[in-house]
Amino acid sequence: VRTDLVVAAVTGALAIAYLIGAHSIPTLAIGDPLGPRAFPILIGAGLLFSAGLLVVETLRAKKAGGPGEAEASVPPFGRNLLITIGAIIALVLAFEPIGYVLSVLAFLLFLTMLLNRAHPVVNVVASVVLAFGSELLFDSLLGVRLPVGLFGF
């Protein structure tokens, strides 16, 4: 129950910030009668309404009680998930400086070793095939310019 109230509060705060932001949208006194502010104001109001509705729903459910009312809650992020998120940030930071193939290869090796500990050889083969294969597919066949990085590939 508490989690849902937090969701409502965060949504409400976001809606208010968004509505305040709507007032800094520059308007031109030409064209349509509504202008660029009207639709965002409607959306902000709707979001605020939904947040209020969630509070009502939560309180109603609390009053009704009952054992079947399992409430949503966010379990704490596991170690592997935190490490993965860290690896993603490292990947994005390294992406342009050291190039596509090397950064993705390192990323794949690291994560497969973390998540598939028992089979290191398979991990290496899969990572190499994927990194070079996707480079080949996108860069050579599809003509997407991927970052080349330090070593020219």
Binding site: G21, I43, F49, G68, V74, L91, L130
Partner: protein, 505 residues
């Protein structure tokens, strides 16, 4: 405008070798996507989009549609052999399908799922073709007010029908609309909510958000829940076919499932998962021996599997004829159309009949290929389950990275995609549905434009949204879908129960 020559011409397009090749590739990838846990049709199509960027639009659309309905075939496999649905829409199949497999009838369960999917798919394509003409001629009369009302209804319906809580559905929908306002205003050209970042002036690319909330979020969930349980498939014994008695029991369920699924699929908001639940409940209610359900009743496999396939084809109806998708996955297919500069809808049937009917008729071919390849290759597809998630999950992240970067070679897009991966993960944990957000983001721009155009026509009088019968019907339906659950708490309780029932399975 006579439709028949166009339909026949569509067959000519659909059986060209190049079309056959892409249908084949599409449905094959769809099967794989369906079998693999943690990657659904929405994520699969979103990840594929960047690869198809340089392709001929026709071939790409044929392929992407193939992924979509092909996934419905694949989803049944893990439900039956592993009791682990590959897709939400195959959850109902697991109940009786797995029981059948444990009793040595895995072959029959797989066969009925494939045959039912084929019959349902084919019936729904016929129904789609029949409905195309009346719906497009209706849509040609639509003004901005009617279009706004239609999109508004699609959004309220999906917000009200997905998930346990109306409020959470609405929050998701409004957040999607909010995201759609970021960027330059289409009419006046003034920047809105760009926070001074130049790259945000073009708005937030829908495909990047879709990769984030569907693919990346699913990977996060997989990593969080990963445990090294050994997966043991039920062995398939005997021929992959039905006995006469099983066929007699299954065939009415296939027919009913096809029609239930198609209708649910056409209506916005509900989709394949709800269609399969409705079919299962209907079969159990109509059965003379309801106690067989849950113990390996073949109707419990035939009905839902037919229904989810019919629903996926049915969902193409509003997308193609009206240009307005009613679900998260068809929203991504709309994004694919837009990426190629094609606007689906009534005008497309007039201007590019070859493309529309080629796409529609390619679905007959795709269903035929799925039926022909599914059963003989079932052992091969089943082996995909042994693919270690420890490799699969990082691989999906790598594919997402290159795909997102390929859309506009910008690092900001990567941050947005992974950021939305986190958002999608949190939404899942908080049981906030994602489909409303995705649909709202893809529709938000046109919704605002038709809203403002309608208000310009009426010089600011909102009565215009109630000025034609079509508009009134749609607006009333939209308002009812939000207000009824609030006014009648009984509906809300019922929905929570259904949601709990289906999530407990």
């Amino acid at each position: 405008m006579d439709t028949l020559p166009h339909i026949l011409n569509g067959f000519v397009v659909a059986i060209q070798p190049i079309s056959l090749l892409y249908v084949f590739m599409g449905v094959l990838m769809g099967m794989v996507v369906g079998v693999l846990p943690g990657i659904g049709p929405a994520a699969g199509i979103a990840l594929l989009l960047p690869v198809t960027f340089g392709m001929d639009p026709m071939s790409a659309l044929i392929m992407l549609a193939g992924v979509y309905y092909g996934a419905m075939y694949g989803g049944s496999l893990t439900s039956i052999l592993l009791n682990t649905p590959g897709e939400a829409s195959s959850v109902m199949t697991a109940i009786d399908g797995y029981k059948m497999a444990r009793k040595g009838r895995a072959g029959a369960a797989l066969a009925v799922a494939a045959i039912g999917s084929f019959i349902a798919g084919t019936i729904s394509i016929v129904l789609l073709s029949v409905l195309a003409r009346p719906l497009t001629s209706l849509a040609l009369k639509f003004g901005p007010a009617e279009y706004f009302a239609l999109m508004f209804f699609a959004l309220t319906a999906i917000s009200a029908l997905t998930g346990k809580s109306l409020a959470k559905g609405l929050i998701s929908g409004f957040l999607g609309l909010l995201l759609s306002t970021i960027g330059l205003d289409q009419q006046s050209g003034v920047p809105r909510y760009t926070m001074g970042i130049t790259e945000l002036q073009d708005g937030i690319d829908f495909i990047i958000v879709a990769v984030g909330v569907f693919a990346v979020a699913e990977v996060f969930r997989g990593i969080q829940d990963q445990h090294d349980e050994s997966r043991q498939l039920v062995r398939i014994e005997g021929p992959v076919w039905l006995t006469r008695e099983e066929w007699r029991q299954a065939s009415p369920a296939i027919w009913r499932g096809s029609f239930i699924g198609f209708i649910v699929g056409v209506l916005p908001g509900a989709g394949a998962t709800i269609a399969s639940i409705m079919s299962y409940v209907t079969e159990r209610r109509l059965s003379k021996h309801p106690e067989r359900f849950g113990e390996g009743a073949i109707e419990g496999v035939a009905g839902p599997e037919s229904a989810n396939n019919a629903a996926s084809t049915g969902a193409m109806v509003p997308l193609l004829t009206l240009g307005v998708p009613g679900s998260g996955t068809t929203a991504i297919i709309l994004a694919a159309f837009i990426m190629y500069g094609i606007q689906p809808g009534p005008l497309l049937f007039q201007q590019q009949p070859d493309l529309v009917w080629g796409l529609i008729n390619s679905m007959y071919v795709g269903n035929l290929i799925l039926l022909a390849f599914n059963l003989p290759l079932i052992g091969l597809f089943a082996r995909l389950i042994y693919l270690p998630t420890g490799i699969l999950l990082p691989a999906i992240l790598a594919i997402a990275t290159v795909g997102v970067y390929a859309t506009d070679t910008s690092l900001l897009s990567l941050y947005i995609a992974f950021g939305f991966g986190l958002v999608g993960y949190l939404f899942g944990a908080l049981s906030i549905p994602l489909a409303p957000l995705v649909l709202a983001l893809v529709l938000g721009g046109s919704m605002e434009q038709s809203f403002r155009r309608a208000m310009t026509i009426s010089s600011g009088d909102p009565v215009i949204f109630f000025s034609s019968i079509t508009a009134v019907v749609l607006m009333v339906a939209a308002i009812a879908s939000i207000t009824l659950p609030i006014l009648l708490p009984r509906i809300a309780r019922y929905r929570r129960r259904v949601a709990v029932d289906s999530s407990a399975l």
